[in-house]
Symmetry: C2
Subunit: 204 residues, 2 copies
């Protein structure tokens, strides 16, 4: 199976690149679908799963039905989510060629020999991208936006530390690192698609 | 002018990529030519210039004719080489589109808005590449080869600290970082060429 994984800084356009890449290559794209699959499999609340899925920490109250869980349950459930996520990532990869965004798929699916991309950008460019896709009622200042971007990336890095022997975002862990500052993702995608195709050909 | 700069780990195939890229794009390629130009302009020994040019440190005895120079002269001449190098890089960039390998051209030519590549690879892949291009009488063990690779990269990083506000090799300083582990540079080059063309189009 040809698996492309996309790790990305918040606001770098990595998700958009992933979607477009899957479109161009005509292969499956998995991102939030993973959350629903984990929720379905584990019986846990989807919002809760979303929080754990890329953070590995609990910031959303965990409930089964209407019962707020105890701390030990939370720990158990976090573990459950991580384990379920690993199973699901492998199930998805087994289904066929795909693009998977985030969730340490680059490491979890190492045995599939995936093509691992890291997408990053300058802070000003990330703030601009976040503004473009924000809803009209979102009223963050640049400073608040920057804090938010840094917080989310810190969580992603922390989560990845569970699996990784190299630092999240350190180029050594990826096959190609793309700086998307001031770049239109749409224009970028065909080149990445060609690069990926060539990369897989090499491994055939 | 469209300037492509290539920073690279020793043994990553960055120089080969640079040459091939210049060939495909039909633009000038500058690497060792820079050394000769500096030597010519400064009147200094070419081997000495080569040592300073990317290291910023003196490991080769400096002579004018047959007179071994004093330490203060060495310092002055190192400065002279660095300044001359900066002038020459700008002169080359003014001449027309080009690929420049090493020498912190990415930073020195910042005003030209260059397309900055960083080429890297796993240690095993770098050792393999070094072996392939080594002369028959070179008898390094893997361990010695690794030490050599690390030493050269350390010198490059040290030199770049003179100019850079970010760490040498930190992806933030580059537009594209390519992991060449187990990749044939020849096959890789057309994609990088297309990427670069597209990148410059964006800036027109």
């Amino acid at each position: 199976m040809n698996v492309i994984t996309i790790s990305r800084e918040f606001g770098s356009g990595g998700r958009e690149l992933g979607k477009r890449l899957a479109d161009i290559l005509d292969i499956a794209y998995y991102d939030k679908e993973i959350i629903s699959a984990i929720a379905g499999k584990s019986g846990l609340d989807e919002r809760y799963v979303a929080n754990i899925s890329e953070k590995g920490i609990c910031t959303y109250p965990l409930t089964f039905g209407r019962t707020l869980s105890l701390y030990t349950d939370v720990q158990d459930n976090n573990m459950k989510i991580l384990v379920t996520q690993q199973q699901i990532l492998k199930e998805l990869a087994d289904k066929g060629d795909c693009v998977i965004v985030g969730r340490c798929a680059d490491v979890i699916l190492r045995e599939y020999n995936p093509f691992n991309l890291f997408i990053y950008a300058s802070m000003s460019s990330k703030i601009r991208r976040c503004r473009e896709r924000a809803s009209a009622d979102e009223k963050f200042t640049d400073h608040e936006m920057e804090k938010r971007i840094k917080r989310i990336d810190k969580e992603r890095a922390k989560y990845s530390e569970l699996f990784l022997d190299v630092k999240w975002g350190a180029k050594e862990g990826y096959h190609l690192c793309i700086n998307t500052s001031d770049i239109e993702i749409e224009k970028l995608t065909p080149f990445v698609a060609e690069y990926a195709k060539n990369w897989f050909k090499r491994n055939e």
